[in-house]
Subunit: 440 residues, 2 copies
Amino acid sequence: MRLSRYFMPILKENPKEAEIVSHRLMLRTGMIRQQSQGIYSWLPLGKRVLDKVNRIIREEQNRSGAIELSMPTLQSAELWQESGRYDAYGKEMLRIKDRQDRPMLYGPTNEEMVTDIFRSYVKSYKDLPLNLYHIQLKFRDEIRPRFGTMRSREFMMKDAYSFDLTQEGAVHSYNKMFAAYLRTFNRLGLRAIPMRADTGPIGGNLSHEFIILADTGESEVFCHKDFVNFDIPGEDTNFDDVAGLKGIFDKWTSIYAATSEMHDEAAFNAIPEVERLSARGIEVGHIFYFGTKYSEPMGAKVQGPDGKEHTVHMGSYGIGPTRLVPAIIEASHDDNGIIWPASVAPFDVVVINMKSGDQACDEACETVYAALSKAGKDVLLDDRDDRAGTKFATADLIGVPVQIIVGPRSIASGEVEVKDRKTGARETMTVEAAIKRLAG
Amino acid sequence: MRLSRYFMPILKENPKEAEIVSHRLMLRTGMIRQQSQGIYSWLPLGKRVLDKVNRIIREEQNRSGAIELSMPTLQSAELWQESGRYDAYGKEMLRIKDRQDRPMLYGPTNEEMVTDIFRSYVKSYKDLPLNLYHIQLKFRDEIRPRFGTMRSREFMMKDAYSFDLTQEGAVHSYNKMFAAYLRTFNRLGLRAIPMRADTGPIGGNLSHEFIILADTGESEVFCHKDFVNFDIPGEDTNFDDVAGLKGIFDKWTSIYAATSEMHDEAAFNAIPEVERLSARGIEVGHIFYFGTKYSEPMGAKVQGPDGKEHTVHMGSYGIGPTRLVPAIIEASHDDNGIIWPASVAPFDVVVINMKSGDQACDEACETVYAALSKAGKDVLLDDRDDRAGTKFATADLIGVPVQIIVGPRSIASGEVEVKDRKTGARETMTVEAAIKRLAG
């Protein structure tokens, strides 16, 4: 992408309304724009990051055996009356009447709808286990939306729903998502710690929140320091291996971790003081096993091997991509701007032309741009007619992992500078060497 | 994907509520499910096709220089009051009040919002031309939604918006989209004919609908038969070439084509009778140039090279992916089911195990499945414990372009049958030859 033809509206000033660093940086880099209170557009730079986050989420859901579909945003109130949540859900549910005066709502979550889909088609235990997920917009009419897309009203959620014949099966489905989440957050460059959690309006009796530690987190969390060194399940994880997944779950729940709601002061104090970690955290995922809470009232049953009807056991599993993007920024930035993990960076490389219009600089930039694009890299070429200093600042601000700096002096000897955004390390090398280094 | 682990709820009976073949086939193959009137879930098979359609749309938008962002579904009424459309738009607009009693709406289109984004950031002609697009859900509260996702209330739209300093620039932007649309529909396996159209509630004075011919089309259309042989702009089309794109536009508008609203009986009758085509059509895209209709009331201006402020010229360009899927089916099916063009087929190949449980069949199927998956193909393996006849019917019904049939008799001599879904042609060959043929 040539920056001269891109739409990346960098703000010169720090936006006053932003209280936390991720919100400030997302506004400054032109990643998002608020359209109404708690409702955002994702501008092109933000959209790129969001797409990459969603791709990783999707790959790990698929790897675990979950199957993607897409449910609509608007739901009929009837479904929610069946589960009893229509009246129970408070003002966060956006209630709508259509032109026929039928009561509708903008889905805040999809347990009812997916249970309706399940009961319409699945009749036998032979079709289980089943895990259906989608990545779809949701709406929760928060009284105080804040922190940009960290807590917005219209937001994106990956929500998966598992169906099993028995509780044991459902626990295995839970463990699949548990392992998939560990892998997902790790690939996003985050260390997320699963913490036993309250089940809230979703209900049920087994639940974990995945929390990343950040000073701006909304919740206070308490855990053992050893989490930092735990191994992440590998790419070769066998999601059908019941004992193996239980081993992963047991390991990751073997030491203390709790949000303030579930905090047990005595248990925490039993940990040697140097191993205690008390911090603030951001919830980036939440998983639930809730048995027959929805399948029972909604009649989601299958015929078992015994020929009898069994109400299925369900769980639900959420990740918020539009919250993950700012969470990643909270975890990875410095005074100059964002530092993207390579897996979600909007571009892999930015080529900085220090002197647009200078023939040697222009040619070298075009060579690098063409070669790396051909190699399948996402390359941003800063070909704007602007001062080199402005370009350096932009590159640092938007946090692309590698910068290739092409200046008139060094290009005279066929050389460019390659800068690592995270460490600041710079290396001078030939154009060819730079291409070879980054095309790999 | 192993069918035994997939969620593809095939219906045995033809659904009674479906009036047209695409609706019937989408329900029968378990591609979609109606959740409320005119509101659909895209089940896994349907989601796969929709994703492939969107990928092609996106690639062609990007190729033409349009830039992707994502605007939200809910909009504030204020924006629409600025343009004057809040009162003008009828009951198709779904009006909502949030918990603070603020008037909102579920966006039926995005001219206002994108103009607001534009005016907030773009101040100079140097940043033009600009074309911003997104692929997002829309809602239009149709009084009579019908034909499945062909005319639903919640639907997906790719909508692009161009901004130019002058009318000439805007016409070039229009021609870019014109060419991009020809390429897009062609890649989707459709022959779409651009027809001069009424501008309706979007407004403006230059507009074309892209229509594909199908017996179930809602509109009557009239055109010259020569359209069938016109060349589609190639992959190497230079979208910056003003004269070149005008040439494409001129060529494709040089002969008669009109919807019934714009039909000129006399002009049509001037065409020799054998060259006249009068048929029914499905609108799959609609493009508009509307000058300053939105930029004027909303104050979207840039500084020109003359130092003065100029109100920008705009156009908008829509394609409905959730309508395109049934449109493709209308154009490509037979009595046995859907016949997907390869570019949007949910799977590239289906491997049919005629006798699941037979060791030789199972092994050959696994070999083919693994080899083609490794080659990057989307492979469906029908490993269900079911009769061969059922599997053949399923494969034909869901319309995967190529079937590899593995039966106990032929596999004894190391051979499988490769069947082309469209022509029905069958060829017997070794397992290795089949892999080689299809991995390419």
